[in-house]
Symmetry: C2
Subunit: 339 residues, 2 copies
DNA sequence: TTTCAACACGAAAACGTTAGAGTTGGTGTT
DNA sequence: AACACCAACTCTAACGTTTTCGTGTTGAAA
């Protein structure tokens, strides 16, 4: 077991000083050609690579981005990660991922830990619990320490930083508008509780579309689900008594569960009820009928967030104008809607 | 913008030496009660937290685990990550995730980069391209430098290290046995090309089950897919001419595509053909008919891998006996099979 | 022969931390 | 009075780098 070789060891072997070795490897013109070549050859032979930790300490930057997300077994988040990772890789950064599991405490812990030198900045989507508590001191804290933060998807208005979101409201609006334009007269929505920002926004997009088309808003057609794990029964119960011909669900899971419930209730999709979901994932594509969805373009979102963060990290100029980038959604029409 | 405070700054403010501050915070008995209290109060006030990078450099350990996987938008891998992350968190470790995108070069790059001080050890599932090239020097290299590596799922026999796998062969065997036990006489398999280790193993499990039951192995009933992205057409074409009543697919995607193809071909699942897939994910649960699968227990796998790695990191004793842990699969029977 | 720049290298400090080895001043023992 | 001992610190080295500032040796110009 040969430990990684250091400058010091090379120096000793070649009987020169550490600085000479360092300079040689950086091709400094202070060093003679002979010495440089000797050092380089030796370094190559022993596969010398500078120690990142030492570099980080010296340079006070780690070239690492911290990603904090609520959950990893989640198609949308993983696409975002892929987007971040791609850009980060291209621009010479690494990513370190922490999961909050939607727990406020874990989020605080992660943030604090990573802020102590491990990363140069953060890209995050906040935990549900954090949104509920409305306690953002931990995020404010790292920002005030000079670490750039970019929020995506679930963002917090009160925190001043760069943000990347999709137009949840508009995406929902378009989906509902599509339903209205295609034979639907009575459209229900399955959403989350209001403290989840995106759920709230999508619900309001739904409402706006109805209003824009002179439909009445019937609170009985709005289901807000708290506990995602037991959504299936809730949805079934909700749909039991409803005479609807259109349904908008704020995520894939709800959409799928709704279709299952409808099938149980002997309603056909899309003949009797048209369904559109939010977020495009494997399930949407594979499902029968394949699900029409509002595509969130997660990879673009991640890429944009990464670029924003790295730009800020590399522009010491520090213009303090933070931007919120709103990405377009797009409606993917598949078989779950009448055409 | 207040930068994070350091020991040196605290020392200066309180007019003591850096070591006094350090020792006070560690509650060393070398320091008087008075001074300790003063320092602690000050540190707390300014929210002092030691710099991880400096600690890493000093201690020559980072308390960080590197995870290298081929792909992140992938249900199984994310469950593994969740398992790793959970154990790592509990045991005081962080995880840093790198994606190889199934590219050999990227895998090498990631490994090299992380090995230069960024992590204490690795948990990895190798890229498809690496398996194909059979070039494992990069992995051997980090191991020879004394970094523990734990491989999972797609492991490499030639590399000597701890491994966590499932009994792919046995899982496949059980699935096929189930089909045989439940009215199937002619069972096809949709697999990957042989250089993907798990595909090969599952295929051999399939064959063994057939042999064990005195079925003939018909190479015409074995489809090996190279290009996952265009599997749909391949599968459809394959199934067109086949008169089968059972089908085993080595992953979820293939299973779903197969059912779709069968549906197109006017064959009902499970009435005409029983289907079992490998890996249990959202799609399997949601699909109609819900998919019977071989459950890989990804989270357990991740947890086991993390424990193995951390045990090795923390036991300096270094007994060089590496172990391969074989996790059991379990058959989840749902609606895609006759009962 | 003196002067001086160019060359080629070395020493040291710094990043933030810790731990072991000094140092100081005071008390207690004989 | 001499010594030992203890409390309560400070110093120093070390982890692996980079970079600034020195410094000794050339060779050439004056």
């Amino acid at each position: 077991m040969k430990r990684k070789i250091t400058l010091k060891q090379i120096a000793k072997e070649l009987d020169v000083s550490v600085s000479t070795v360092s300079k040689s490897l950086k091709d400094s013109k202070e060093i003679s050609k002979d010495t440089k070549e000797k050092v380089k050859a030796f370094a190559k032979l022993y596969n010398y690579k500078p120690n990142n930790i030492a570099l980080s300490l010296k340079n006070r930057k780690t070239k690492t981005i911290g990603i904090i997300i609520p959950e990893i077994v989640h198609h949308f988040f993983t696409t975002v990660i892929r987007g971040i990772e791609k850009i980060a890789g291209d621009r010479g950064y690494n990513v370190i991922i922490c999961l909050s599991n939607n727990s406020f405490d874990k989020e605080v812990l992660n943030l604090e830990f990573l802020a102590n030198g491990s990363t140069d900045g953060f890209i995050m989507s906040v935990a549900k619990e954090t949104q509920q508590k409305e306690d953002y001191h931990h995020i404010q804290e790292v920002i005030s320490q000079g670490m750039p933060v970019v929020m995506f998807d679930r963002v917090i208005d009160e925190v001043i930083c760069d943000k990347v979101i999709i137009s949840d409201k508009h995406g929902a609006f378009e989906a509902v508008q599509y339903l209205i334009d295609h034979h639907c007269k009575k459209i229900a929505i399955i959403s989350t509780v209001d403290y989840v920002s995106v759920g709230k926004l999508r619900t309001s997009g739904y409402k706006e579309a109805l209003i824009a088309n002179d439909f009445e808003i019937d609170e009985d057609l709005i289901l807000k689900i708290e506990d995602v794990d037991h959504s299936e029964e809730k949805i079934e119960e909700f749909l039991k008594e409803k005479k609807i011909d259109g349904l908008f669900a704020v995520n894939e899971q709800f959409a799928v569960n709704a279709i299952k419930a409808l099938t149980k209730l002997k309603k056909r999709v899309p003949e009797d009820v048209s369904v559109i979901g939010f977020t495009d994932g494997v399930v949407s594509k594979s499902f029968i009928p394949s699900l029409s969805t509002v595509n969130q373009h997660g990879e673009d979102m991640g890429a944009k967030a990464a670029n924003l963060l790295i730009d800020r990290l590399e522009n010491e100029t520090e213009e303090q104008s933070f931007q919120t980038t709103v990405l377009d959604t797009s409606l993917i029409i598949r078989d779950s809607v009448r055409k």
